[in-house]
Symmetry: C2
Amino acid sequence: MKDDAVIILSEKELRSYVKLDEQVIAQVEQGFAALEAGQATVPPIMMLPVPDKDGEVDIKSAFIKGLPGMAIKIASGFFHNNEIGLPSQSGQMLVISAETGFLQAVLLDNGYLTQVRTAAAGAIAAKYLAPRNVDTVGVFGCGVQARYQMEALFLVRPFKKIYMYSIDSDERKAAFVDDMTKGLKVEVVSAEIGEEVAAHSGIIVTTTPARKGYFKPEWVRPGMHITSMGSDSEDKQELLPEVFRGADIIACDLKSQCFRLGELRSAVAADIVTDETPVQELGAIIHGRQSGRIDDDQVTICDLTGVGVQDTMIALMAYDIARKKNAGIRVQR
Amino acid sequence: MKDDAVIILSEKELRSYVKLDEQVIAQVEQGFAALEAGQATVPPIMMLPVPDKDGEVDIKSAFIKGLPGMAIKIASGFFHNNEIGLPSQSGQMLVISAETGFLQAVLLDNGYLTQVRTAAAGAIAAKYLAPRNVDTVGVFGCGVQARYQMEALFLVRPFKKIYMYSIDSDERKAAFVDDMTKGLKVEVVSAEIGEEVAAHSGIIVTTTPARKGYFKPEWVRPGMHITSMGSDSEDKQELLPEVFRGADIIACDLKSQCFRLGELRSAVAADIVTDETPVQELGAIIHGRQSGRIDDDQVTICDLTGVGVQDTMIALMAYDIARKKNAGIRVQR
C-alpha cells in the first residue's frame, strides 16, 4: 500500500558521495537553466525568526518539471550557539517524490550540501562572467564557504594565487592559508587590507556575513569580476552600493530574491540600480538569452542569495547516488 | 560539538503515543491562545504545486515563543496516487529546536498527527461555539477526518446520534456507520439526502474535499453550529456563501488563511462577508476577548483551514513523549 522506505543519510555518507566537482557544478547549472526555461516553481523562502536566540530557520524549495523529486531544505542560523559550543549553522534536506508526494530521503547533511551547491553557483557565475585567464583571485572572508568558493572557482578558472582578507582571528586566517595552500597547491596571501586583495585579483569573491558594505567602488578595476554571496537577508551587505555603478554586467541568481535579500537590495535603496538598470539572471546567461562577458575589460558582478533549484538539484543527485549504493538507514513510515 | 542525535519516529509509534484525547485538545487550544496573544509567528503556507500529478506539497510551520521547539510540516496530496494503489495524502513533521535550530526529530506520521490536530480544532470550535446540550450531530463526508471529527466532538459534546451524508460508495458509507457505531457506541444514520442531516443535527461538521458549495442556507436552523474544515485551498468550498448570512457568530482559525483558502473566501467573493462583517479567530474566543455562544438560538459557523501552531503543539507533544520513552531510532547527524 505504501511507497518504499525512507532513507536516512548522515553527513559522513553525504560527504563521501557528493564532492565539489564538475558534475555538481553541471548539476546546479541545469537547475538555473530550468529556472530560466520556466520549468521551476520556486516559492518564496519561508522564514521563521527566533529573536530570543538571534536565530532564524529558513525553508527553501523548488519543484523542477521533469525531475523525479524535489528538495525541501531547512537551514538554521542560531548565533548564540557558539556560547554553548555548537555551530551556529545547521540544516538538512528532505527529498520528496514528484511522482507521489511521498518522503523518500532525509539528508542529515548539517549544511554540507548547501555549502557545495553555493560554491557551485559561484563557479557558474565565474564560468560565464569572469575573464578567461586569471592568475590571481581574491576572497573576502576565511570561513568554510570561502574555502569552497576557492575550490569551485579553481575548477573553472585554474588560478595560481589567492589574496584573502578577513577580520577574523589570526589563527583562523592562518588555517585558511594553510588549507588552501595544501588543498589547491597555490600561493595564498593573507592581506593586511582589503584594498590589497582588490589590487591584485581578476576575480573577487565576497563570502562574509557583513552587515555593512565594505567593498569600495574605488577598488573596482577594468576586467574585474565580483561574485558576492554573503548577503542573503535584509540586514546583510558586502558591496557598497556605488560598486554597481562601475558594472558592465550585473547578474544574480534570482531577481525576486536578490532585490529583497541580496546586494541588489542596498543598490536599489541607494538609487544606483533602478528599474532601468539591466540585471540578468544566471539562467538567462546560461541559456544564451543574455550575454555573459564578451570583453576582457568589462566589469561584472554577480549577486548570489541561494535558490531552491540548487537544493533540489544537489539533493536529487545525493539521493540517486545513495540509492544506487544502497546506503543509509532505511526506515519504515 | 553537536547536539543530540536525531530521533526518527514511525507512524506506528506515534499512533501509540498520541491519541485523540482531552490532552491533545488542550494542547492545540494552547496553540490558538498563543496565536491570539501574539506569541506565535506563522509564516504563510509554502505551496509547491505538481500539476502533472494533480499534486501539491504544502509546508506549514509556526514558532511559538517560550516553547522548546517548533514543527515544520510537509504535507502532500497527489490525486493520481489512487491509480497506483497509494494513498493520495502523505506527510511528516520535523521538530526543530527553538534553542539551537538543530533538527531533533523526524515524525514519519503519514499525516496521522495532522488528522488528530485538525479534529482537535473542530472540538475546540464546538467547545466554545456549539450549544451546550446536543443529542444529535451531523457530518458531511465519511472519510478518515469525518471519523476523527466525530471522536473529537464526542469529547466536548457527548452526543447520542450521528447523521452522516456522503456521495462516497455504499461500502465506504457502511464502514463509517460500522466504525462509529462500535467506536462511540452511538446510533449512526447514513442519510439519503444532505437536508436530512441538517434537519436533525444541532452541530454540523463538513469534512469533504468538495470544490462546489453544497450546504444550503435553507438548511440552517436556529441554534445550529457548523464547523467547516474541508476547504483549505482556493478551489475548495463546502458552504454556499449565503449560509454565512444567517450566522450570529462567524469564527475561523486564522483570518489571513481563511479569507484566502477557506469558506470565507467564497463568502467574501459573493459579497456576503464584507469588511464590516465581524469575524473572530478561535484564539480570541479562547482568550475571552471575543465571546463564544451566549444564547441557545444563535447560529455559529467556524471555518478551519489548519494553522502551523496546531502542528507545532502536537509535534512537540509527540516528541516529548517519545523522548521520555526513549523511543524511535536515534541517528547521528
